[in-house]
Subunit: 218 residues, 2 copies
Amino acid sequence: MYSLSANGCKVMGAMAATTRQRNPRGEGSRLREEIVEAAAELLEEHGDPAAVSLRAIARRAGISAPSIYGHFEDREAIMAAVVERAFAALTTRLHAATEGIEDPAVRLHAGCAAYVAFAQEAPETYGVLYQLLDDGEPAAPATSLEELAGGEAFAILLDGVQACVDAGASTAPSVPETAMALWVALHGYASLRTCLAAFPWPEHERTVTTLVDRLAWL
Amino acid sequence: MYSLSANGCKVMGAMAATTRQRNPRGEGSRLREEIVEAAAELLEEHGDPAAVSLRAIARRAGISAPSIYGHFEDREAIMAAVVERAFAALTTRLHAATEGIEDPAVRLHAGCAAYVAFAQEAPETYGVLYQLLDDGEPAAPATSLEELAGGEAFAILLDGVQACVDAGASTAPSVPETAMALWVALHGYASLRTCLAAFPWPEHERTVTTLVDRLAWL
DNA sequence: TGTACATCAGTGAACGCGCGTTCACTGATGTAC
DNA sequence: TGTACATCAGTGAACGCGCGTTCACTGATGTAC
């Protein structure tokens, strides 16, 4: 049964490098996820979103470039999927960091620290979150918070501040404005810290604590 | 003296569209500035730094693409010049907004408001400031503040906070850390405000005031 | 159970495009005699 | 003052490249008879 026949499965090692195992019938969506995964990896490796080309994604995923069109309309759609994935990861992270903590002030601290940590660990992924929003059209300004991309993450922050106020730990005069100020400051810190490595930054924990304590009126 | 001779100066209108007036001998640097200007304009018009290609810059400046190489090493060098220009503009703006104000707290407010206003009016120019730093190599972390790109702008902020502390208007425990927190928050606000237009932002003035008052311990 | 066929995941070649960069050049301007 | 020449700001054509996207296709897989 020695064979070099067309299906090529006889030489697994070599095959893996050259040909991909085709997904079974119903599971075309598996490749879809592999594409998004490949795009996310590329983004994190090269610092530049421009380096995440459709062809580079295909190369990374081990498929031909046109194969992508079976799963995505165009390159932009892939990036949108990457952003969606990143927001989901952020939200999960924030939930994980805060759940089970009773003291609202401690919980708020933990959530904010996790937000910054997320940005530190995957700076490009973090960066792409807001970058794509930048590209989108102006959108109706009246949109509710929940419908905003990242709205769920912001809602966690909002709840955190509200809990502090309710418990008397915070004297913040306005919960939404406080959450906004906090969010803005954390974003600024996360962005600058990663891109301005030469700056003599104080200790990480210390900075987050300062921002949270002062801006959340703790 | 009717003439269509080679120097073309007889038909100014038509000429301006097709041929550019060559700079006189010693003033090659004039084109250099036109190139930077063209790049800056392109950057601000298209939101995307990737759209500012060397060829696009040349087109905008009304010259052929190779002409640029007489003035810049490569595309990256042009972008570096754009960043330098942007930092100079920011610094000028901050000085203009704060000079002549006696009350240190009022001056700090004015400076911070000007910083945010600069970012609002030229969001792409503002964005490119930190973006380029991102691309650069890690650099020695021990670099002094003054040598950092944007160090002069930060120094203004530092002085502003120091003046507040000296005058007893601020109870900030650490001047550098306070300036850092303020800078980070202003940057975050400036970035997010421009890219997340759909968010229900509070009044502009109000937000800046909140950030400054809380973070500078006024 | 065996065979013909429809489905569909993925391919390979090709397209036109704009890019950064190079090269040999052109022709107006200033200078030396 | 007049002329030959060196300088140098800027040009036009060409290069190779990677890109996004299209098209007709291949061939393994599941299904109908």
